[in-house]
């Protein structure tokens, strides 16, 4: 099993979620984050003052999936989150040793 963590632009969340549903993913955990990256932030003028904003709002998506689903999952996310602009985000994949469903205490792939 793998944990796929994706950092995406906030306004793509709806699309990504739909795409994940499209490839059969039923469970997803989502949280707020902020990112620094190549997308350097922007200069703003406000009330006569100029300053740089370089921490930008992002969404973190976490999906635990069976090894066999990982490619589908990453492709789905890339497909739905890509706008082609700098700052579209990152996905990283980590090996999961075990997973538990709290409701039942089941373990392993069937708990996903």
């Amino acid at each position: 099993m793998k944990l796929v963590t994706a950092i995406i632009q906030p306004h793509r969340l709806e699309e990504v979620r739909a795409a994940l549903e499209g490839v059969g993913i039923k469970g997803v955990t989502v949280s707020e984050a902020s990112g620094y990256g190549r997308q350097k932030g922007h200069t703003e003028v406000y009330r006569g003052a100029e300053y740089t904003v370089d921490l930008l709002p992002k969404i973190r998506i976490e999906v635990v999936a069976d090894d066999s689903e990982v490619k589908a999952v990453t492709d789905a996310i890339v497909g739905a989150a890509q706008t082609g602009e700098i700052g579209d985000g990152k996905i990283w994949i980590v090996k999961v040793e075990d997973i538990v469903r709290v409701r039942t205490g089941e373990r392993g792939p069937k708990a996903i």
Binding site: E44, V45, Y46, R47, G48, A49, Y51, V53
Partner: protein
């Protein structure tokens, strides 16, 4: 003169006083919304505590200092404690408004004036020092300026060629507070991150709430300064509606042209700039004069708030840019637009020798402008210098500024043991 109660005028003056009292909490929101989340409460407390200290000293001795007899300054013993004073001593005795009503009316003017200063020193002044400052400043600077503009003091009238017009506090309140704010901001130094970090307002709806309640209260401030409910109060009221309205438009027009977008902070600031500028002029200009003053004040103040970046003083919430500059704009424009023929029944000695005159554009020549400049200059110099002295004394006794680590982690927690908001966290 025997005193005859006029219930209508009294009703209006009581109402006005309540309206002006509300302006100080309104200011707390106007300022409090503009700071960052970590210093909201301290910002608001600087206004609230002024309500506490000034109200108390006012009824004990400060009313007499400002409005008691005396050439340069009044006397703390005149009206000490206020008991047993006949209503014929009322500032509005001729309008049939009792003495204590007018004492309260003048009290709330003093309160808001010192509270205004706090905007230039956001995020960084020791709270205890601020409390002491409010007492000292009102007892000296405010009492002196009020005594010579509105009371029996002669320091200004003896040098001005005609009676300067300050209907509701252009010099006493706004120039006075603005110049003091500049002095304190310089003494305190800049906030960490000034000019580099964003420091955007943490809650713009609060800023708009503040601006709205300020406007609402300002009707008591300006129309109340007639001391009665009559046509002149109506003129002052109407001018207090249209000048800030036009100033809001001209301020956001500047923003639209310069930055591309009209902001809500600009609209709120424009309203206040217009209110400030019309304050001295409310009962002595006609519709065109009020519109002109509002329009010009909005533009000038929208540009003036940029000065702090040029000169490097941290006038954090633009007290200098809005109150000092706006107060000067209004005070001087009276020299151009004063129209004392437009049915004003306003009580100053119009038409008497030494009385106020029409402005340049209304056939009065340059004289009134000169008088206006004299009064403005007097207030600027007195307030700036005296506040510097007070500030220096406090700096080397109590200390003015919190430590850097307090400033970074937030003055609310350090000085008040609180944070403004507890998040709805499930955590």
């Amino acid at each position: 003169m025997p005193f005859t109660l006029d219930s209508g005028n009294t009703a209006w003056m009581i109402t006005s006083t309540a309206l002006v009292l509300l302006m100080t909490p309104a200011l707390a929101f106007f300022y409090g919304g503009m700071v960052r989340t970590k210093s909201v409460l301290n910002m608001m407390m600087m206004s609230f505590v002024s309500l506490g200290t000034v109200a108390v000293i006012w009824v004990v001795y400060a009313y007499g200092l400002a409005f008691g007899p005396g050439d340069a300054v009044g006397s703390p013993r005149a009206f000490f404690g206020l008991n047993g004073v006949a209503d014929s001593n009322s500032l509005a005795a001729s309008f049939g408004v009792p003495f204590l009503v007018m004492v309260a009316f003048e009290a709330v003017f003093a309160i808001i004036t010192v509270a205004l200063i706090s905007g230039s020193i956001a995020d960084r002044m020791k709270f205890g020092t601020w409390v002491v400052f409010t007492v000292v400043w009102i007892s000296t600077v405010y009492a002196l300026v009020a005594h010579n503009v509105w009371g029996s003091g002669t320091l200004i009238t003896s040098i001005a060629p005609s009676q300067p017009i300050d209907f509701a506090g252009g010099t006493v309140v706004h120039i006075n507070a603005g110049a003091a704010a500049l002095a304190l901001a310089i003494l305190l130094g800049r906030r960490k991150g000034f000019g580099k970090e964003p420091m955007r307002p943490h809650n713009l709806p609060f800023v708009m709430l503040g601006a709205a309640l300020l406007w609402f209260g300002w009707f008591g401030f300006n129309a109340g300064s007639e001391f009665g409910a009559d046509a002149t109060a109506g003129r002052a009221f109407l001018n207090t509606t249209i000048a800030p309205a036009f100033a809001m438009l001209s301020w956001i027009l500047v923003e639209k042209i310069r930055d591309g977008k009209p902001t809500s902070l600009g609209a709120a600031s424009g309203i206040v700039a217009g209110l400030v500028a019309i304050t001295p002029a409310a009962a002595s200009v006609d519709t065109w004069g009020a519109l002109a003053i509002g329009f010009i004040a909005g533009i000038v103040c929208a540009l003036a708030i940029g000065l702090k970046y040029k000169f490097g003083y941290d006038d954090s919430l633009d007290v200098v840019g809005v109150h000092l500059v706006g107060g000067i704009v209004g005070t001087l424009l009276i020299g151009f637009f004063a129209n004392l023929d437009e049915g004003t029944t306003w009580a100053y000695n119009i038409g008497n020798p030494g009385g106020p005159l029409n402005g340049l554009l209304y056939g009065g020549g340059w004289t009134q402008l000169e008088s206006q400049a004299t009064a403005a200059g007097f207030a600027i110099v007195v307030s700036f210098v005296a506040t510097l002295v007070i500030g220096l004394v406090l700096k080397y006794t109590m200390g003015l500024r919190v430590t850097e680590s307090v400033e970074v982690s937030g003055i609310d927690l350090a000085e008040h043991g609180e944070t403004a908001y507890e998040e709805a966290k499930s955590l």
